[in-house]
């Protein structure tokens, strides 16, 4: 007999049945005995207090704390940017907003969507900086350091927004152009060109006309700015100029305009 067989035989000893009738009669007897020695039924309030206390005692354990932390981290990374979206650059929660936005960007897999979101965040930050600086109560001699920092931050945010906007509009333009080229050439039997652009693993056997190859190169490698990207860039530039002139309302309007263009472009 192997150890495993031996243990399985031992486990069978648990199949010994206790007399159910005796268990039931003893149950009644025990209930009477404990009722006589002060046993009672608890009220719903007492039960609530006990549940709460037990929960608190259990929650002090490290495993529970770790589990709660992980859940909190996941929830914050998904919904945190909405939770802290109202935090302004002079708020203590602003750092939480930045972290949650970075976490949110980390969860987006589609690069175009990530760029769009990054643009929205950067433009949002720039708007908030303008709003804070537009407040006359904030502009005083004691806040000079903060004002200088905000000016610097605005510069950074505008640059980020411009970079993201140009990447976003270029990408969408490239994809559109490739489709357009494919549409134009498919009737002549050159559909492989479009396929190659989308999936490089597909071998191209059919020779391509020189003009088409040139077009393909231009669309995939050279950064050809679209009307939208030029416009968004111009508006962001105007927003920057308005900011430098301390025309914060004008800055806000321009930023909103740029956001609308990018929003329309993504549709």
């Amino acid at each position: 007999m192997t150890d495993k067989e031996f243990i399985s035989q031992l486990n069978k000893l648990r199949n010994v049945k206790t007399d159910q009738a005796w268990l039931n009669s003893n149950r009644e007897l025990l209930l009477t005995q404990i009722s006589n020695s002060g046993g009672a039924e608890l009220s719903s309030w007492q039960n609530f207090v006990i549940n709460f206390q037990s929960f608190m005692k259990t929650s002090s354990r490290p495993a529970f704390a770790l589990g709660t932390f992980v859940v909190l981290l996941i929830v914050t990374s998904i919904f945190g940017h909405k939770l802290f979206s109202q935090a302004k650059p002079n708020d203590s929660l602003y750092i939480a907003r930045i972290i949650s936005e970075k976490a949110k960007l980390g969860t987006v897999l589609d690069s175009q969507e990530r760029d769009r979101l990054a643009f929205q965040f950067a433009a949002g930050h720039a708007q908030d900086i303008s709003t804070v600086l537009a407040n006359p109560e904030f502009i005083n001699s004691s806040n000079q350091d903060q004002i200088a920092k905000l000016n610097e931050s605005f510069e950074k945010e505008i640059n980020t927004a411009r970079t993201k906007a140009s990447r976003l509009t270029l990408k969408s333009t490239n994809e559109e152009e490739i489709v357009m080229i494919a549409d134009a050439t498919s009737t002549d039997g050159y559909l492989e060109v479009a396929e190659k652009t989308v999936d490089a693993a597909v071998p191209v056997e059919t020779p391509k006309p020189e003009k088409l190859v040139a077009e393909e190169k231009a669309s995939s490698t050279d950064a050809v700015p679209t009307e939208e990207s030029i416009k968004a860039d111009q508006i962001l530039d105007e927003a920057k100029q308005s900011f430098e002139r301390k025309d914060y309302n004008g800055t806000l309007n321009k930023l909103q305009e740029a956001q609308a263009i990018i929003q329309d472009g993504s549709r």
Binding site: M1, D3, E5, F6, I7, Q9, L10, N11, K12, L13, R14, N15, V16, K17, T18, D19, W22, L23, N26, R27, L29, L30, L31, Q33, I34, S35, S37, G38, G39, A40, E41, L42, Q46, N47, I50, N51, Q53, S54, F55, K57, T58, R61, A63, F64, G67
Partner: protein, 207 residues
Amino acid sequence: MSANLIKKFQTKKTLSQLKSHDKEAFIRVYDDQAADINRFVYYKIGNREDANDLTSVIFLKTWNHIQNNSLGEGKTLRALLYRIARNAIVDYYREKSVKRALSIDDEDNQIDVPDETIDLPEQMDQAADLELIKARLPLLKEEYREVIIMKFVNDLSLEEIADITDKKRGNVRVLLHRALNALKELVEQAKNKEKISNNENSNKSQI
């Protein structure tokens, strides 16, 4: 992890309810544990009637203990029940002065352990093995028998056994290993004796 936390929460909740004299909570504990405690006592003392009486006493003692004492952090209700059961068994032996008068093969209380998933010859072999184990279990040292019942019959964890017996987890593991080997040896010896007597009988009949 979550199952473990829920279990801990339930244990704490039940203990708090018992401290608040909640008889319903105690009856739930009884429903949950009575059969296991009764089996543990039965394998320890080998008498069905006495095991029933002791089980009843153990639950009443547990109720009184909880009302009058505070339980240490990390102590489970199951461990407390087994501790009280062990003490009750010691008292029982003391009163009866029959420390080794075990009769697990009590003819009035034959233990029936059917297993219908195996064929008849194998079932007969296994039934014979099981009978041998049951017959040899009372011959083991007290502490060996106890850990075997707790671990393999009543399915207690090593931590719980360590808590009940006031030993370290590692010591319980070693004890369990030795207990298994000792029981196995007893069973093998009985089997060999049986074989020899069978051979002798067949030789005699051939002559």
